[in-house]
Amino acid sequence: MQKRVILYVLGRLILAEAVVLLVPCGIAIYNQEHDAVSFLSAAMLAGVAGHAMLYHGNVRVESLSLREGIAITGLGWIMATALGMLPYVSGGYLGLLDGLFESISGFTGTGATVFPTLQGVPRSILFWRMMTHWFGGLGIIVIFIAILPQTGASAVYMYNAEGAGPTDERVLPRLSDMTKALFKLYLVFTLLAFLVYVLCGLRPFEALAHAMSTIGTGGFSTYDDNAMHFRNAWLEGWMTFFMILAGGNFALYYRVWHKGPRVLLHNTEFKAYLGIIGSACLLITLNLIFSQNLHPAEALRYSSFQVGSISTTGFVSADFEQWPPFAKGVLLLLMLGGGCAGSTASGMKISRLVMLAKNVWSIVRQKNSPRMVAAVRMNGVKVDEGIVERACQFFFLYIMFIMLWTLLLTADGISTFDALGLSVTTMGNIGPAFGIAGATQTYAGLSDFTKSVLCFSMLFGRLEILTLLVMCRPSFWRATTRW
């Protein structure tokens, strides 16, 4: 374990965040809000800490290994979220735990808010929430690698540790090139969403805020009643489009950019993703039409928005608390599934689920024709058995953690179904759940114990469990070489 390198890289990360913190500071100064002081002091604190760490750190060490990569990513996320809470706390809006919760919820793209109401909250704070979404969405580490050149091989490990999905496929051979490409796409999508939202009639600040939240698949809004506030069918349609877009694989979009849209047809995961969203949408629409006597067009409008949102982002345009149990069940499954690998959405990732289903089917086929060599194929290419096995293990761990969080939450007195919903939604970094944290509720009323459990849940979900779990092993921190 090369502790000094970790210190060095983390120092740079924190310095970068200090710079980022100056943006809302600028907004605060422009709007003449007193929060400028708290942003500035947070930035200064970050700057000082970063410099101190750079001073004690050392980059001139060869042979960076997997451990450093994992440690940097894990600790980087923890430090970034801890810094991110400073503006909330020092501005006096939230307490320490609430601030941390809001920050983690922002960076992980969950969008679960503990602000009881957003009325009267200054714009700079609102904007900072959106910025946490945006930076956490593509990944702090990805953006960090894209903007600041990294030395050493640990960048790959850092990248992989940040929830990169089941396979480590690259569209560009060099990691820095690839992260740059992803970042550019990310910027373009955000700008596009911003323009479309403006055209749909949002004011520029709102449009930018929602664009960042959408493309980062976060779910924070500048209004208490979220997307319900606008009552604008066009806007909802476009938001649905962008949410679904952001739930797709960004590396795939890069390929589409270069090779044309035919690439999409050959991508198993993307087809499955659209298929799942389409069928979920259809099922919920039918369910709503028959059980609530909604007009088909209205049912489709609400179901498509909620389906697109719940599988990725967590905006709410209808109170799905009132929906029939079947529709809620579909939403719950969508929360589990999440978006595609390499997207800004979390959850189990569609590619894993496709792999698992195909794996089961290949075993069945092999039983029927014992001499057949059945393999799992994705995009027409055979998938390595180790990858399938890791996907299976991930599924197991994911379910186990949901069960564990639910157990802890029910122990805290939350009713079983609400607890299950909360665990699934925070693990999948979605945002709204059912019941006490339902579509029209915030997380403000939950107890401290529940909030801390959910903080862990969000981090575990965003970093795909393994990173944090590995860091919990004592052998991780022991030095490998003693001389």
Binding site: N368, F395, G413
Partner: protein, 510 residues
């Protein structure tokens, strides 16, 4: 398909023979409508058995069972016996429609134990109650038979071979199959006899002791099993009567200490690996049992669950005077009951807090040891899954390390490990999709999840944690439940294998 028909015929013959027992009871208790119904069923099933045997003679003899045959056998046996089993209910007139009769019959066969009928079980004729017990026992027997003969070949059994190492030679050859079959059946029967003795010692009358033994050893109990055994007044139709206004006018029948203890022990032994018991018995070595990892984990799970429940129950003040001792015994009994997927209860679990009910809900997914008639995922597989996850963490840290997952000191083959992982996925998926479909007929999703879990893990009592009685479900939902129960009993995979075969043949023919 010779062996398929022969096995089906044999099973139906056993079924026919066992119909004699409730028939005897019907005559004994002078319940003539039931006696008539049972007699007609006896004739029908004897006829069906003869048909199966004749089919087996017509097909060419091979003495070896193909996967195809095995898969069909495993899946077909439940609906066929279920249809035969629902006849007495229908003919004697206690069932309103075929759906609820079929539901109740399959529920008994798969050792789920739920009753789908509007008529509460306590007012059923004695012969019908006994028939329910007999079916449950036969279901357990059928499961054990399948487990040691066909299932290893069809679905790979997902780890049974791990536990029964060196003692069972699984083979598709009939003569070999018979050997292991005899072992399994012998253990099952001797355990039933022991259970009968235990209940007799606990002071039950012979009929009731027999009923309890049949139901408990096959883990097919339900909330009203104790009420049936004690024959106390009217059992509440469904617990919502209690939760509604908070009036607790209707109390649970309180089984005596000896009876609870007997039931407790039988459930405990019913969820231990039968094959391991056989092995320990033949080798006269207790060490085999003591050193078995699965058994140890089983006990740890019980202890942990009991501890959790005891702590919260004794802190409870709402539901009545639970002293620490009472809380401990209630927690102990309920955790064993749910872990063994039997579902006997001695406490009003539907009044417990969400946390306690959730613990019970989780326990049914864990299930008993592999190689027993319990449902759920089974301890063995969870142990392997946990160790695999741990080794996955290790290899995430040391990508080049060669890690081996071991159980009882022996490494687990990668293929088996992969199968167990796939099994977990398919089990969870079946559970969730089942709940989704049931949600269309239920007022809320949690009850749908509970009912789905009840069907899949064959623990009827889980459904009781909610407010909806299976009797209130529409007919299609009850039929869907029977599908889920069957899927749970054949460990989902076999069902998929059959579907795979059907798809393939359909493709070949069109």
């Amino acid at each position: 398909m010779e062996l398929f028909w022969r096995m089906m015929g044999r099973m139906t013959q056993v079924y026919t023979a066992s119909l004699g027992l409730p028939l005897l009871a019907a005559c004994f208790f002078r319940e003539w409508p039931s006696a008539g119904a049972l007699f007609v069923t006896l004739l029908v099933s004897a006829f069906v058995a003869r048909g199966f045997m004749q089919r087996s003679l017509l097909s060419d003899r091979r003495g070896q069972m193909s996967t195809r045959e095995g898969a069909f056998l495993i899946v077909a046996i439940w609906p066929v016996l279920g249809v035969l089993g629902m006849l007495p209910y229908l003919l004697s007139g206690i069932a309103r429609d075929p759906a609820e009769a079929f539901f109740t019959s399959v529920s008994a066969l798969t050792t789920t134990g739920m009753s789908g009928m509007m008529l509460p079980r306590v007012v059923w004729p004695n012969a019908m109650i006994l028939w329910h017990g007999v079916m449950s026992w036969l279901g357990g027997l059928g499961f054990v038979v399948i487990l040691v003969t066909v299932l290893p070949q069809v679905s790979g059994c997902f780890g049974l071979t791990l536990s029964a190492r060196q003692m069972l030679f699984f083979s598709p050859v009939w003569s070999k199959m018979r050997e292991s079959l005899e072992q399994g059946v012998r253990v099952y029967i001797s355990m039933t006899v022991a259970a009968l003795a235990a209940f007799l010692l606990a002071g039950l009358t012979p009929w009731r002791a027999l009923f309890m033994a049949l139901v408990t050893i096959s883990s097919g109990g339900d909330i009203d099993t104790f009420a049936l055994a004690l024959g106390e007044g009217l059992w509440p139709e469904m617990p919502e009567l209690l939760t509604g206004t908070g009036e607790t006018a209707i109390t649970l029948p309180e089984p005596s200490g000896a009876l609870s203890l007997a039931a407790f022990c039988v459930m405990l032994f019913g969820s231990v690996n039968f094959l391991l018991c056989w092995k320990a018995w033949t080798r006269r070595s207790l060490r085999l049992l003591v050193t078995d990892t699965e058994l140890r984990v089983f006990i740890i799970v019980i202890v942990v669950a009991t501890a959790l429940l005891t702590v919260t129950l004794s802190a409870e003040e709402v539901y009545g005077p639970y002293g620490s001792g009472q809380a401990l015994s209630a927690a102990f009994f309920q955790s064993v009951s749910f872990l063994s997927t039997s579902g006997l209860i001695t406490a009003p679990v539907w009044l417990w807090t969400d946390f306690e009910r959730y613990v019970l809900f989780l326990l049914v997914f864990v299930g008993g040891c592999i190689g027993s008639a319990t449902g759920g995922l089974k301890i063995m597989r969870l142990v392997v899954l946990a160790r695999l996850a741990d080794s996955g963490l290790k290899s995430a840290l040391h990508p080049r390390a060669v890690t081996a997952v071991k159980l009882d000191g022996l490494p687990i083959q990668e293929k088996i490990a992969g199968r167990i992982l796939a099994f977990f996925f398919i089990y969870v998926t079946a559970f969730m999709l089942g709940a989704m479909v049931l949600a269309l007929a239920m007022p809320n999703l949690l009850d749908a999840l509970r009912l789905s879990a009840a069907c899949l893990t064959s623990t009827g009592a889980v459904a009781v944690l909610g407010l909806v009685s299976p009797a209130e479900l529409p007919g299609w939902a009850q039929l869907f439940c029977t599908l889920l129960m069957t899927a749970g009993r054949v460990e989902v995979f076999s069902l998929l294998v059959v579907i795979g075969i059907v798809i393939r043949t359909a493709r070949e023919h069109w």
